[in-house]
Symmetry: C2
Subunit: 247 residues, 2 copies
Amino acid sequence: MSESGRRRPRGPRRALTENEILDAALSLLDHGPNAASVRAIAARVGVVPNAIYTYFPDKAAVVDALVERLLGEVDHDVFADRAQPWRDRVEALALELRAKLSAHPGAVSLMVGSRMDGPIAQTLTERLLQLLADAGLDPTDAARASYLLFVYIFGSLVLEVADVQQPAPLPAEAERIATRQLAFSARPPDHFPLSAAAAATMAGYISTEQYLWGLRRILDGLTARVAMGRKSVGSGCAASSRPGPQA
Amino acid sequence: MSESGRRRPRGPRRALTENEILDAALSLLDHGPNAASVRAIAARVGVVPNAIYTYFPDKAAVVDALVERLLGEVDHDVFADRAQPWRDRVEALALELRAKLSAHPGAVSLMVGSRMDGPIAQTLTERLLQLLADAGLDPTDAARASYLLFVYIFGSLVLEVADVQQPAPLPAEAERIATRQLAFSARPPDHFPLSAAAAATMAGYISTEQYLWGLRRILDGLTARVAMGRKSVGSGCAASSRPGPQA
DNA sequence: TACATGATTTGTACGGTGTACAGAGAACCG
DNA sequence: CGGTTCTCTGTACACCGTACAAATCATGTA
């Protein structure tokens, strides 16, 4: 509606688009969270630093837009498919978010402190609420549960990228686990017997397996609440043909 | 043991202690996460900036020490009391951590990216593992559960401090809720009906009540797993492969 | 007592950051 | 055409973390 009467603005044509700037920022972020300075971005797209401020009011706006763009890349296919079991849908969303965001560790570091309340984030929230309603949660519980899931997903990501200080893209999962394994077993075992004993598991903290384990415990907690009260959500055990969580 | 043979080092007496530096940093952090620059800290304690580097190798070390100190302030009374019900102990820890850390929002922002693997953090982990063992979890599950809880507690804190961009100490909880309430209800309700309907609950996201609600769902999830015999756990039997008709 | 030693503190300096501000140039309008 | 309005450039400022060398000082030893 406000699109139709669009006329070219007064000045010269812009040399860039917002997306080119975000592209540059994103690729720079793979060299560390601090690598995406305004100057570096500008150099990357071939303008002087201050030209960036014609596209975004300040750097925070660049970060916000970047986060929105990454969120926009998540695949809604399974997540939004109300014919699928709801647990599978949550897992699909969680895995998608992790995949899309942890592919750019620097961006995750930056998004801490971002408000994440753009339209795409809102859409994701809305869909998640829908999903939880499908699962039988009343609106209040659905709202609380959506925040709980958000905290879990986001918290996992933050801790995961904090774990590696490397600028480069995250090393392979197996390698990171081995590194942590070493670090843990180097700790004095007499002072922390349980930690030492759990070293193997703890070394594997940062892994898709642990991520899903935690997510499933949360879903169990939400399910338990539904099962024992509220509506009697009839029958249909999802039983997702997934392999048992035991490794 | 290595303390006994301690002799004064060669040079002049140090003008400060590490703790004074941390005090200064902590009080500066109440004016925003960026307010605790090396220069500002130095000015606060009355030395030239570079003097700080005699006490800490770099700024990251200051942050690490600060985080350790905050963690050291948590009260272990209930948390470590094995006579108490284990859920109460977890809640006590969670509330203590939130209280101690969210009292300094700037510090929370800084601790993102900190490794949090100092001796005090280790002690907390060890105690948490002990607690979960008391709850009946086998060592592997206890390790996973401890990380899950850590993610939840830490993620909640990060999102909470990100929610207010204010430098000052966090406003009262009621006030923050009211502000969010307003912001939410300003969103177009036609595009996000569920979000709009859940606005009241969502405005209250950031609250002790929501914090405990989520924590209890997680504990429920862990408990369910213990209750039904941990090996064979299929999944919480989740229902709803067929969503109800459109809302 | 005198001196060498070594840690502490200072001063200066470098390269980096985000961004405010003034001006040059290009595209549109009347 | 002149005027308006936008984009991009150049310069500049205040701040950041910290490397480096010189100055200061309390000690251990001669």
